[in-house]
């Protein structure tokens, strides 16, 4: 059976994998530790499940540990997560003290490992305070923020900042997210894994099943938005854009997402979207379990065009996923969508439902352009947003941070 690196080599090319080997050689003898809060569920665990085995195959001595905590601890870190993304809620002092205690307990448990490591990556806020309990650190500590912190609730960020400023460096997904800190703030956009259930190739049979399962007509165009039912994703705007197109082209709309029922506002938005769609049989509103990756993959693949009409967005990995499947994306002119959707090349940036409708009509009429943009979109992701690029930047960061903080580091 092919190794992981061999499997990626088929997707990205030999020279990309060769470069990873070259960089890995520069890390010879180093021990790298990653700490996050869970091995299952969520984007961070998903990335680590691939990055860690890849590092092992490259001969890099890497350990992945998770912290343990109780329900109160995770309630606190969930609140931190939400407030860093902009919710204005104060976290009770009692919970914050509990957060610190749990971090101390975990740091004590992992003390030997953490003291001796050459590089420690701490992912997100959950384990961020551990650094306080490891005063004798041999290596460099890096805080990796995976969250959209473009407009954090300041009191909570200030609290967390006191821990984060003690790190040797931090890593952010976009420059818009980076907060002022007294150390280098590296920028590494997220990535998708082309071999995962969400992105790997699918058979014609699986795609045919998806049409049948959801009652979608394979002979008419399909436009799709995959996202939570959240106002920032503007699902009502998507329905409006669909209606404006429908007058000209017999298009079908798929709005699919998960997690509405455990989120009061999500449920409200879901109901509004349902009401807005009425009894139109060509609008398919699907509530999916968060781990139903094969269905999401199939829905993206049977679409002619994918929308991400957000009015506010972090990076927008659903955009990356769609581009990888060769679909032009019509996206809101905001956040990380701007990094990925390049007008006339990988899709179109729009500001209104009318703008989205215009671009949908254009692409459905100009099939040649749709195909051409779809091909470009896939190549664009291949070069920029696959996990191999992500890993290359992690390795480069480690080389950079373990050398002097110079603009140019020549290891010749």
């Amino acid at each position: 059976m092919a190794t992981l690196l061999q499997q990626y080599e088929r997707v990205v090319g030999t020279e990309v994998i060769d470069q990873l080997w070259q960089l890995a050689r520069l890390l010879d003898g180093m021990h790298i530790v990653h700490i996050n809060s869970t091995r299952a569920g969520g984007g961070v665990a998903e990335i680590l499940h691939r990055i860690i085995p890849l590092k092992h195959e490259l001969g890099i001595d890497t350990t992945w540990e998770t912290i343990t905590g109780d329900a109160d601890f995770f309630q606190c870190t969930k609140l931190m997560h939400n407030t860093l993304q902009g919710n204005r809620i104060d976290i009770p002092d009692l919970l914050l003290r509990h957060y610190e205690n749990i971090n101390t307990e975990n740091a004590t448990r992992l003390k030997g490992l953490l003291e001796d490591a050459d590089i420690v990556f701490i992912h997100d806020p959950q384990p961020a305070a551990m650094i306080e309990s490891i005063p004798s650190r041999k290596g460099k500590w890096i805080w990796r923020c995976h969250i959209d912190v473009s407009s954090p609730y300041r009191p909570v960020w200030k609290y967390l900042r006191d821990f984060v400023r003690g790190y040797d460096a931090s890593v952010w997904s976009l420059s818009e997210f980076a907060q002022r800190l007294p150390h280098p703030m590296y920028l590494i956009p997220p990535s998708i894994d082309p071999l995962s259930d969400k992105n790997s190739d699918m058979s014609e049979e699986e795609l045919a099943n998806a049409y049948a399962r959801w009652g979608i007509d394979p002979d008419r165009p399909v436009i799709t938005q995959i996202s939570r039912f959240d106002r920032f994703k503007d699902p009502l705007g998507v329905v409006r854009a669909y209606r404006l197109v429908k007058d000209f082209i017999p298009v079908q709309l798929v709005l699919a997402g998960g997690g509405a029922t455990d989120d009061p506002e999500g449920e409200e938005v879901f109901n509004e979207v349902k009401a807005s769609a009425g009894d139109d049989p060509d609008v398919h509103i699907l509530l999916l379990p968060p781990d139903d990756h094969r269905t999401i993959n199939a829905l993206q693949r049977i679409s002619d065009i994918v929308l991400q009409k957000s009015t506010r967005e972090g990076f927008g990995l659903t955009v990356t996923e769609a581009l990888w499947k060769g679909k032009p994306v019509i996206g809101g002119d905001t956040g990380g969508i701007r990094l990925q959707v390049v007008n006339h090349h990988t899709g179109f940036l729009v500001n209104t439902p009318e703008g989205a409708a215009l671009r949908i009509r254009y692409l459905l009429k100009r099939r040649d352009r749709l195909e051409e943009m779809g091909q470009k979109a896939r190549e664009f992701v291949r070069e920029n947003f696959l996990i191999t690029r992500h890993l290359r930047e992690y390795l480069t960061l480690v080389v950079a941070i373990t050398n002097e903080n110079r603009d140019r580091i020549e290891l010749l």
Partner: protein
């Protein structure tokens, strides 16, 4: 025959500075104080990032002038600044500021108009490393080019222009040491324009030049 060609590679990593501009005046003011490595990143770093076959503008400042300020005149002028003509980043910084100030003088509204998106100043660190691959002849170099990483292509064909001998790429410089037989090849390599194509396409074009212009039979 001189030294073998030592294939090097480079990887660039971006670093946020926390500095940004909302208006053209702010951009000018920040340009005075930001590290020179930001100038490098916003002019040259773009070449290691995504590009398309018909990019409207060639550097991040020009792109922001067009997308953020909707000012085509400034975008066109900024896009025309060729970074390879400036041996020192400070000279490039000066040219950039001059171009912006010229536009500020021409317009009453533009200097204060809030852009639709911020310009974030980013600097970069570049790690250059030796791949240990050594090539003895231009023919070997030509055969190896399709297998080079994009980082190697960037380092030898673009970044090289900022190293002595100034303004020259490593490939044509090395090939020219092989005498008159390879003069045509060296000339053809040196006139390849890297600015309107992606690095992958540049790699293909260089491979084509090597196979079309290498003398039959070699030396």
């Amino acid at each position: 025959m001189g030294e073998p060609f030592a294939v090097r590679d480079c990887a660039l990593i971006a670093i946020a500075t926390g500095q940004y501009a909302n208006t053209l005046t702010e951009l000018r003011d920040r340009l005075e104080i930001i590290p020179a490595s930001c100038i490098y990143y916003h002019f040259w770093g773009g070449l290691l990032r995504p590009k398309f076959d018909n990019p409207e503008y060639q550097n991040d400042f020009a792109i922001w002038a067009y997308q953020g300020l909707r000012d085509k005149s400034l975008a066109e002028r900024l896009a025309l600044i060729d970074p390879s003509k400036y041996h020192e980043l400070e000279d490039l910084r000066g040219e950039l500021i001059d171009t912006i100030e010229e536009r500020i003088d021409e317009s009453e509204i533009l200097p204060w108009m809030k852009a639709t998106q911020r310009f974030y100043f980013v600097r970069s660190q570049t790690v250059v490393f030796d791949t240990k691959v050594r090539l003895d002849t231009p023919e070997e170099l030509g055969e190896h080019i399709p297998h080079m990483s994009l980082g190697s292509i960037f380092y030898h064909f673009i970044d090289a222009r900022r190293r002595p001998p100034w303004g020259r790429d490593d490939f044509s410089h090395w090939v020219s040491d092989f005498g008159d037989t390879y003069a045509e090849l060296a000339e053809q390599i040196s006139i390849v324009d890297p600015y309107f194509i992606a690095l992958g396409e540049l790699r293909e074009e260089l491979a084509r030049v090597f196979s079309a212009h290498a003398p039959q039979g070699g030396e």
